[in-house]
């Protein structure tokens, strides 16, 4: 039963960095505007003789994170100079989210978009992180040479 006097609860609000920290990602200079994370996996369904689903197998679970940034810097020129396109499938590291599963190594998955209009410029892209740490390590290790 709830309390007869409503006193409130702690909630998750805003972009949610760790207290006193700025959310950072390698290679991107900016202010984070939004982050939307989705949990995804492949599903195979096994059907019975009447074509009803009898079992399911989930494989390759991973997170996909869509990020939107406002490019920024110590000056307007620095903000412009800081806009660079990431290396395809390159490793990026996210730091300082209060939600720990968002921190760590991610793989850049393309579709980096820079939107210029009559407002603040917006930079957006998608990154991916696998649930299995060994698989994630392997897929975020950039092979050089």
């Amino acid at each position: 039963m709830g309390s007869d006097v409503q006193v409130g609860k702690g909630i998750l609000f805003g972009i949610n960095p760790k207290t006193g920290q700025k959310i950072e990602i390698d290679g991107v200079a900016g202010i984070l505007d939004s982050a939307k994370v989705m949990h995804k996996f492949e599903v195979d369904s096994i059907k019975d003789e009447s074509n009803f689903t009898a079992a399911q197998i989930a494989t390759d679970p991973h997170l996909e994170l869509d990020l939107v940034w406002t490019p920024s810097g110590e000056s307007r020129q620095a903000a412009a100079d800081g806009v660079v396109f990431l290396l395809p499938l390159g490793k990026v590291e996210l730091k300082n989210f209060k939600i720990d599963s968002l921190n760590g190594k991610w793989s850049y998955q393309g579709d980096m978009a820079l939107e210029l209009n009559k407002k603040q410029a917006k930079l957006q892209f998608k990154i991916k992180k696998w649930d299995d740490p060994d698989q994630n390590d392997a897929l975020t290790t950039v092979i050089e040479g």
């Binding site: 805003g14 202010i31 505007d33 406002t70 110590e74 000056s75 307007r76 009559k118 603040q120």
Partner: protein, 172 residues
């Protein structure tokens, strides 16, 4: 830096510096001033600022540059004279916000106008302040029959509404 976020007052002063530099001898005042505001006068008033992105120290401000000119006829004055004088001052002020920077067009980013305002503000000692973007949102015209009864009566009010992105820091 403790006084940095009185951004609306800083923006008023920057606009006053810009209009004063552009029109020598004009009576230009910030909205927040205790001087007599006798017409003809240009009042620079920053009405509202929202911090965008949040917690960034960057404000998108709605500001007004209001040109108030005497509507009443004076003794021995031709009936066209107040209107002509009003149009002349309004045109001079409004044209300041449509200037080109050594090229044949006004830039599309609003950065040239911002830089003109920054140069005037810096010259007048308005600090800490940088305007990063400015554009004209609207022009309006009206009439105020209550403006300072001691200041010779009613006046026309022609206004520019501006959208400006500013920050309380120098040299951005």
């Amino acid at each position: 830096m403790a006084a940095a976020h009185r951004i609306l007052s800083l923006n008023d002063q920057a606009l006053v510096a810009y209009v004063s530099r552009g029109i020598a001898g004009a009576n230009v005042k910030p909205g927040k001033s205790s001087d007599d505001k006798a017409v003809p006068i240009v009042i620079c008033w920053s009405e509202r600022g929202s911090e965008d992105p949040p917690q960034s120290g960057i404000y998108t401000i709605t500001a007004h540059v209001q040109v108030r000119t005497l509507a009443a006829l004076d003794l021995n004055q031709d009936s066209k004279e107040p209107k002509d004088k009003s149009d002349q001052l309004v045109a001079s002020v409004f044209d300041l916000f449509h200037q080109a920077n050594d090229v044949a067009f006004v830039d599309t980013s609003g950065e040239d106008l911002a830089n003109f305002i920054n140069a005037a503000a810096s010259g007048a000692g308005v600090s800490p302040y940088t305007c990063q973007y400015a554009r004209v949102l609207a022009v309006t015209a009206g009439y105020d029959d209550q403006h300072g009864r001691m200041m010779k009566g009613s006046c026309w009010v022609d206004s520019l509404e501006l959208e400006m992105v500013v920050a309380p820091a120098d040299g951005l």
